[in-house]
Symmetry: C2
Subunit: 351 residues, 2 copies
């Protein structure tokens, strides 16, 4: 028994491509925490693969599950030592939490208003695969966009907005125009109310992103934000919506990619799609986006997969922030995706 | 006259693909600084293109050059206002300077020793296209690698090491093995002396990276570091050396890509090469690597191109830190590149 054998077994069970290095990252995490959600978060590996590995390790007597969480047995510790695996030693910046940018004095007033406003936001619901980020994350996106010249005087489109990026952008008053496309009526009403109450210049429009983008949105924006489902096809289609909304070369886009629902194999396929669509990847910032824990966690596939049925305490679901820029304008379809299952593949678990 | 016309003219003169957004980034920089090197640094645009744009703007009476630097004329200011361009507003984290990681208590002793050791390093010379990063940058690389599980117990190869990454890794005492391949005898001797004096376990070997990698290096390492020349062909070949040194899937690599010598068009081509070689791009951290100013700046092409002949005061040459990981092992050539000109293309200027 070694890391590579375990990786192969996990790959067989889950159909997620894995190697010894993937196993190693889970082992490094087990040396630090016995909380399943934290293991997933620290390991940066797909949740179904982590769950499958833990099940295999339990069968081998390397870990034991209890109401208190996951416990490494002596046999497990011996195995990890034999494999030469160390616990994680993170040197993440304590000031920006690894985001590279901070909400500084220039943005603080707008952020303070955002903090109060977002208290009354609609809760994330399962119907739309929702799950929103912390207020700090939303505003760090604003700070990042401003640092890249993607805010002041720009036309910005937000494709799906349970993170309230539209409101955050509106509160700065720096963009030329902010358009939000959203399907959830609760969010549409919330954003419209806030917009009217605080005099923000944002247009919130009802739209199902599985449907083609409205004609008047095409080629009209400098910047897009979206947070697409992470099946390769859905990702491609949703980022495709962002791309066709851009005016042309020099336009940019922001979105997250997780580890919890996407292996590095899938990351590579997603990156290839981006390049093939005429984009360059300019930034990939690890664990930039931190999501609030779902109210509906016990309804998710992730809960069924979890070897220990404890609700997460810390925010465990994170994603890397990706910025792209268009360097070559290519013809892109504006197709209808209503009939496709865009949310599920072997690596997904938060649906 | 507008941004797009200027971009087209620059592209015609320099053969560097440019669009209005590229021009905009230079204009945003000119609103902040009159120092040519700082304009290049802030704009994140290729130096030859920035120089060509400034020349065109001077012909249009938008900027004037003097011994004090570049001055925007009223005409230039009017143009920038008409184009709706704002000055940069950076929100870079003051603690980590945007690097995501910090040299914390765990690394501080090793870093303090490194700071003293590197004082006597050989100066960068033009023969090998050298130019080294600040000591803080070198150690931030160590912090990043440790945070990604790429340090403890790992076999690490450093392909060319004017940045003294090998010594920094050695000082931590955490890697299993560190091998440095270097061509410059001064650096080889320096690293060997330091290694012997401080009892570091690093092997420094004389090797010209244009030649095929020695047989015993193939498939033997977990992690590689390199800082390749940025022509597409050279980049591919040098990163290729790193790839064939890796044991296999799960192996990782670190290197920098600049804006000063690579347009986003070239970035996209480089990224495509990485994916095609079986790698996934896991991190791109903007301006992570900060280079010390060259002693030989007045001999560089960049000096000839500079519209104002003032030596740089601040460190202006930076690069993004890129981390890749192998997800698919592919056959790679180990070819001889001795006869090729690997250092020059339309976008290079520090040779």
């Amino acid at each position: 028994m070694d890391k590579d054998v375990l990786a192969r077994d996990v790959a067989n069970v889950t159909k997620i491509p894995w190697n010894g290095r993937n196993v190693e990252r889970v082992l490094s995490s087990l040396l630090i925490t016995g909380d399943f959600w934290n293991v997933v978060s620290l390991s940066c590996e797909p949740l179904p693969a982590v769950a499958a590995l833990l099940k295999l390790m339990a069968e081998e007597g390397m870990v034991a599950f209890s109401e208190y969480g996951i416990k490494l047995t002596q046999r497990g510790r011996d195995f990890i030592e034999k494999e030469g695996v160390s616990p994680w030693h993170l040197h993440t910046c304590p000031r920006c939490e690894g985001r590279t940018v901070v909400i500084d004095d220039e943005l603080k007033d707008a952020f303070d208003r955002f903090l109060k406003i977002q208290i009354d936001r609609p809760e994330a619901i399962r119907d739309y695969d929702q799950g929103y980020v912390t207020p700090e994350t939303t505003f760090a996106r604003v700070a990042l966009a401003d640092s890249r010249g993607d805010l002041r005087g720009k036309n910005i489109i937000v494709l799906g907005d349970d993170d309230l990026v539209g409101i955050a952008l509106g509160l700065t008053g720096l963009a030329r125009r902010v358009v939000v496309l959203e399907l959830d009526e609760r969010l549409i009403n919330f954003e419209r109310e806030i917009s009217s109450k605080y005099g923000l210049s944002i247009d919130v429009m009802a739209h199902d992103l599985r449907k083609p983008l409205p004609q008047e949105m095409l080629g009209n924006f400098d910047v897009f934000f979206c947070d697409p489902p992470e099946t390769v096809e859905a990702f491609d289609a949703f980022v495709g919506r962002g791309i066709i909304a851009l005016k042309g070369e020099g336009g940019s886009g922001y979105f997250g990619i997780t580890h919890a629902e996407s292996s590095f194999h899938k990351w590579r396929a997603l990156e290839m799609k981006l390049l093939q669509r005429g984009l360059v990847i300019t930034d990939i910032i690890h664990d930039f986006n931190v999501y609030m824990n779902w109210e509906y966690v016990q309804e998710m596939l992730a809960w069924d997969l979890a070897p220990v049925k404890q609700a997460p305490i810390q925010n465990w679901y994170k994603s890397a922030m990706v910025r792209v820029e268009m360097v070559e304008r290519l013809e892109m379809p504006n197709e209808d995706l209503t009939d496709r299952d865009i949310y599920n593949d072997a690596e997904s678990s938060t649906i």
